[in-house]
């Protein structure tokens, strides 16, 4: 059951909210990874973790919404390879929405730092402290984060490129639920 030509309002809200939070978290993560250990770096790392957990929770909501509300199909005249690339790109994004924060959460637990959301809600450690594992998870989290940044860059470039094409307004689909 296709939604017509435009995304639903919840999908639009989740898209832009997550876009802001993800770009924020990627930037913050990149910045703190180069900082020496200090009270401010400790604060920033905790903010980064809280952002990541928030993104993970929103990703779950968003996935549920998308599974129950199919996004608008691309028109028939859009070449098959472009439709295929769009689908692959979107599912890659969804996979990374979960993989990046999950790897970060596991890394934090393995390093011996349980995550306490906003300093008040303790989250379970589903990985036990383990120095060697922590280093591996740190690398994994980093590689996945860079991958997410790369896919986002392609996604944005493609959206802008197609947004300038006629006759379908790709950008308007994700800006308003009304054609």
């Amino acid at each position: 059951m296709s939604e017509g030509t435009h995304y639903t309002t919840p999908a639009i809200v989740l898209h832009w909210l997550m876009a802001v939070l993800i770009v924020g978290s990627l930037s913050l993560g990149y910045y703190v990874s180069g900082l020496p250990f200090s009270p401010s770096s400790l604060r920033l790392i905790n903010y980064h973790k809280w952002l990541g957990i928030t993104i993970l929770a929103l990703a779950a909501l968003r996935l549920l919404w998308r599974l129950s509300h199919r996004p608008p199909a691309l028109p028939d005249y859009v070449p098959g390879w472009q439709q295929w690339s769009a689908h692959v790109g979107h599912w890659l994004l969804y996979a990374l929405f979960f993989a990046v924060p999950l790897a970060g959460w596991a890394y934090s637990s393995a390093a011996g730092y349980p995550i306490v959301y906003f300093g008040v809600l303790p989250l379970p450690d589903w990985v036990s402290p383990d120095k060697v594992l922590a280093e591996q998870l740190a690398s994994l989290h980093e590689v996945l984060a860079y991958s997410l940044a790369a896919v986002i860059a392609i996604h944005v470039a493609a959206a802008i490129k197609h947004g300038m094409d006629e006759p379908i307004d790709y950008l308007h689909r994700m800006l308003s639920s009304k054609p």
Binding site: F37, S38, P39, L42, R43, N46, A111, G112, Y113, P114, I115, V116, F118, G119, V120, P122, P129, A134
Partner: protein, 191 residues
């Protein structure tokens, strides 16, 4: 690094041996079955740590705890917590200042029985040259000639200027540190 830790270990051993003692070392600590653990919270996150090197002269008879004595020493440089960066930070003058004052010492002044195997060990804790009287409630369980002593007490790190300066914000690293000694002692206390 090996030479340095060898020197530190020797100094530690010498300090423990030469520490002024009014205690007959009647019971020996079994290091493999003992631990000095602690919990420090940073922004709500409980960080579990411990000190790997510690020693003590302990003579406590659970049947008559009031006549017992405890002298305990912890090598602050042997702290294990968090990441390697954390350990480097903890050695600095703002924290443990291990270069100048590597040892934390505890000397008991009295031991009070609280009934049912529980005692309150009162004494002086000295860290970074600052001494404070503390109470250490412990539970004693004698099993043959093995005595198991475990307890928990809370200190305020800023009382000893631990993490003062830019780390003084207790909203970031909490002032309260919960310390959990768990000792297995071999041998009987001489009356």
């Amino acid at each position: 690094m090996h030479l340095r830790s060898a020197i530190v270990s020797s100094c530690f051993a010498a300090a423990v041996v030469s520490a002024p003692l009014s205690v007959q070392a009647a019971q020996k600590i079994v290091p493999a079955q003992s631990e000095v653990a602690f919990v420090s919270k940073q922004m709500g996150v409980p960080m579990q740590g411990k000190f790997e090197r510690f020693d003590g002269q302990i003579a406590v008879d659970p049947a008559r705890p009031e006549s017992g004595k405890v002298a305990f020493t912890v090598d602050l440089g042997s702290v294990a917590i968090g990441t390697p960066e954390t350990l480097i930070e903890l050695r600095k003058p703002e924290w443990f200042d291990t270069a100048k004052s590597p040892l934390a010492t505890f000397q008991s002044t009295s031991i009070k029985s609280l009934g049912s195997g529980r005692v309150d060990v009162v004494g002086k804790l000295t860290i970074k040259g600052i001494s404070k009287e503390i109470h250490v409630p412990m539970t004693l369980v004698q099993q043959g000639d093995t005595l198991k002593a475990s307890g928990e007490f809370t200190i305020k790190r800023l009382d000893y200027r631990i993490g003062a300066g830019e780390w003084g914000d207790t909203g970031l690293v909490a002032d309260e540190v919960v310390v959990r000694p768990r000792l297995t002692l071999q041998g009987a206390a001489t009356p």
